[in-house]
């Protein structure tokens, strides 16, 4: 891949990027309380006395949240720490009723791992880069503040307060906005495969803190800034681009980058300083005395490992070994939603190549036209498999199958019922076909003469005419054979 460089007045600059991704853990209840994690509920209805930090309330960890963090760690080949511990991160803010966030600073549950990233996952020749993951720890989310509802007050909704997050901290291994984008896409794909996070950035279940610094290529690391809470891949790439350029301009005009927290303004497409107090980051971490250390036993770890699904990279390799093109294998495995749909199709006994070609051209094309996602597909894998079987066993031709599929999309009818009702079965009735061929030859004597005098290309014309006369229902192989015989 070509290196991403910023052209400054003093030469080229290299961008160094590290990401802290906050992923909301998929669970029914919160990390330390039994209240619901459901999105979009009445304000402050999914809040227990624990989440509101009433005096005397004690946290009890949710096993499922720890399990999901461990499974995620296993999916990125990370070291799993059998012994970890929760710490208190102390700061005051209106969305944090405890006055501290329960997090894991010193002993995270997951240690070093890595993710393989391709810049263009759909291009099999794209360069693969390994991005290091430093750690994954588990922590509480904060509540939500609303500033625009009242002239003098901010409103606080604690429904999100205490929901479990995984903070996935990368190494500063990325060198361009594109690499950072590819990393988040791959990470999201893995989380969705594992089922530990829905990866829904619009609803805020995945957001990134973006660390950016610039340096002369190969030089010492520069001072970094951290842009907080970026909630889309596109915004993240824009924020990196803007922030790197800002730092280069600043340094070249004789200034220095200040290590600080910044915000990305998506309307103005710029980052700006949060102007926090200088000691706002003095979190005075210490082990949470309300919680014993987390100790994971063999049975727990064994279950985590056994319940992991086949992951995107392994699946892609397997699909290629089934005869799929590298492109098809990459597209079908990039998103869990697509991969699981295709798996369901295979489970119905559909041939992998036939199924993948159909899914990528016919189904994707139809969904595109309808403006629907795969989850909203009017045709299920089971229904699709029936259609594909009818093609595979010669009951209907490929071209008729497109017609049948159209009707399936509109009516939801089963393929075999449509074929039966409309009389679309492919015919191998040689008598009927021969009769049509005779008619066509009589009507096109000039073309028959031309063909016989060597204009081979006209063969296709006769095939087309015959198929048309048979209303698409004739077996193409039989048409070919009979035409060759008749035309001599």
């Amino acid at each position: 891949m070509t290196e991403y460089r910023i052209q400054g007045n003093t030469g080229e600059w290299e961008v160094v990027i590290g990401l802290e991704v906050h992923a909301q853990v998929t669970s029914e209840s919160k990390l330390f309380s039994g209240s619901s994690t459901g999105f979009g509920a009445e304000p402050n209805s999914h809040v227990s006395l624990v989440d509101a930090a009433m005096p005397g309330m004690l946290p009890v960890p949710n096993r499922e949240c720890l399990r999901q963090a461990v499974r995620t760690g296993m999916a990125i080949n990370a070291q799993i720490n059998r012994w970890s511990r929760f710490d208190r991160k102390n700061y005051f803010y209106a969305d944090l009723p405890q006055g501290y966030q329960i997090s894991q600073l010193y002993h995270p549950i997951v240690g070093e791992g890595e993710i393989e990233v391709t810049l263009n996952e759909k291009d099999p020749d794209s360069v693969v880069k390994t991005i290091g993951i430093e750690r994954i720890h588990v922590e509480q989310d904060a509540g939500k503040l609303m500033h625009d509802q009242h002239p003098t007050m901010s409103f606080v909704d604690l429904n999100r307060s205490g929901v479990a997050l995984m903070e996935i901290v990368s190494r500063p291994d990325m060198r361009s906005p594109q690499e950072a984008g590819a990393y988040v896409k791959k990470l999201r794909s893995i989380l969705r495969y594992v089922g530990s996070c829905d990866g829904n950035m619009e609803q805020g279940s995945m957001r990134a803190d973006v660390n950016v610094s610039v340096r002369k290529p190969g030089g010492d690391l520069g001072t970094r800034t951290e842009t907080k809470n970026v909630n889309s891949i596109r915004f993240m790439m824009q924020a990196i681009e803007y922030e790197a350029q800002r730092q280069v301009d600043l340094i070249e005009s004789g200034g220095a980058v200040v290590q600080e927290t910044r915000l990305f303004d998506a309307n103005k497409m710029e980052t700006r300083s949060m102007r926090s107090k200088e000691d706002a980051h003095d979190y005075r971490y210490f082990p949470d005395p309300d919680l014993l250390p987390v100790e994971l036993d063999d049975a727990f770890l064994e279950e985590c490992r056994a319940s992991l699904p086949e992951l995107p990279d392994a699946k892609r390799a397997r699909y290629e070994s089934l005869g799929l093109t590298a492109y098809n294998a990459a597209v079908l495995t990039a998103e869990a939603e697509t991969a699981f749909w295709f798996e369901d199709l295979l489970a119905e006994g559909v041939d992998a190549k036939q199924g993948s070609n159909w899914l990528m051209s016919e189904l994707f094309g139809a969904l595109n036209k309808l403006g629907k996602t795969l989850d909203e597909s009017p045709v299920s894998p089971k229904q699709a498999a029936e259609l594909l079987r009818l093609v595979a066993d010669g009951t209907i031709s490929g071209s008729i199958s497109k017609q049948v599929f159209e009707i399936m999309l509109e009516t939801g009818q089963a393929a075999s019922a449509i074929v039966e009702e409309k009389g679309l079965k492919q015919t191998s009735d040689t008598g009927a076909i021969e009769a049509e061929i005779a008619k066509i030859m009589a009507a096109n004597e000039d073309k028959v003469t031309e063909y016989r005098s060597g204009k081979d290309k006209l063969f296709g014309f006769f095939v087309g005419q015959t198929m048309k006369a048979m209303q698409g229902k004739a077996n193409p192989q039989i048409i070919n054979d009979l035409l060759k015989k008749a035309l001599g």
């Binding site: 669970s27 029914e28 209840s29 309380s33 039994g34 209240s35 619901s36 009445e42 304000p43 402050n44 209805s45 999914h46 809040v47 227990s48 006395l49 624990v50 989440d51 509101a52 009890v60 960890p61 949710n62 096993r63 499922e64 949240c65 720890l66 102390n90 005051f92 803010y93 209106a94 503040l145 609303m146 500033h147 509802q149 009242h150 003098t152 007050m153 901010s154 409103f155 606080v156 909704d157 604690l158 915000l263 949060m274 102007r275 000691d279 003095d282 005075r284 919680l291 014993l292 250390p293 987390v294 100790e295």
Partner: protein
């Protein structure tokens, strides 16, 4: 280990506790007294001793992932100094 007046003022600020200058002076003495007292533990040789996490042998209890709590909005909001509808109200905080 000891603290000076600047440190005391900083800790007070981070903890959102207002203290007067005279109180800060007094605190320096009191906190240093406490630190010195705790520091006596440094006389014990703990080489090779695992840090103790609980007084009695105990393991962390974990919950199953089921919804058993919540839906107590009125209780949660009951003691709030200010509320508006279903929300807590706090002095406007905006970056």
């Amino acid at each position: 280990m000891s603290v000076d007046k600047d440190t005391v003022n900083k800790i007070a600020r981070l903890s959102r506790i207002a203290i007067s200058d005279a109180e800060a002076d007094k605190m320096v003495g009191e906190l240093n007294g406490i630190l010195a007292w705790v520091e006596q533990l440094g006389e014990v040789d703990v080489t090779g001793v695992e840090p103790m996490t609980a007084v009695i042998p105990n393991t962390l209890r974990l919950r199953d992932d089921v919804v058993t709590d919540g839906d107590v909005r009125d209780k949660v909001l009951a003691n709030a100094p200010a509320k508006e509808g279903s929300f807590f109200g706090v002095p406007k905080v905006i970056e």
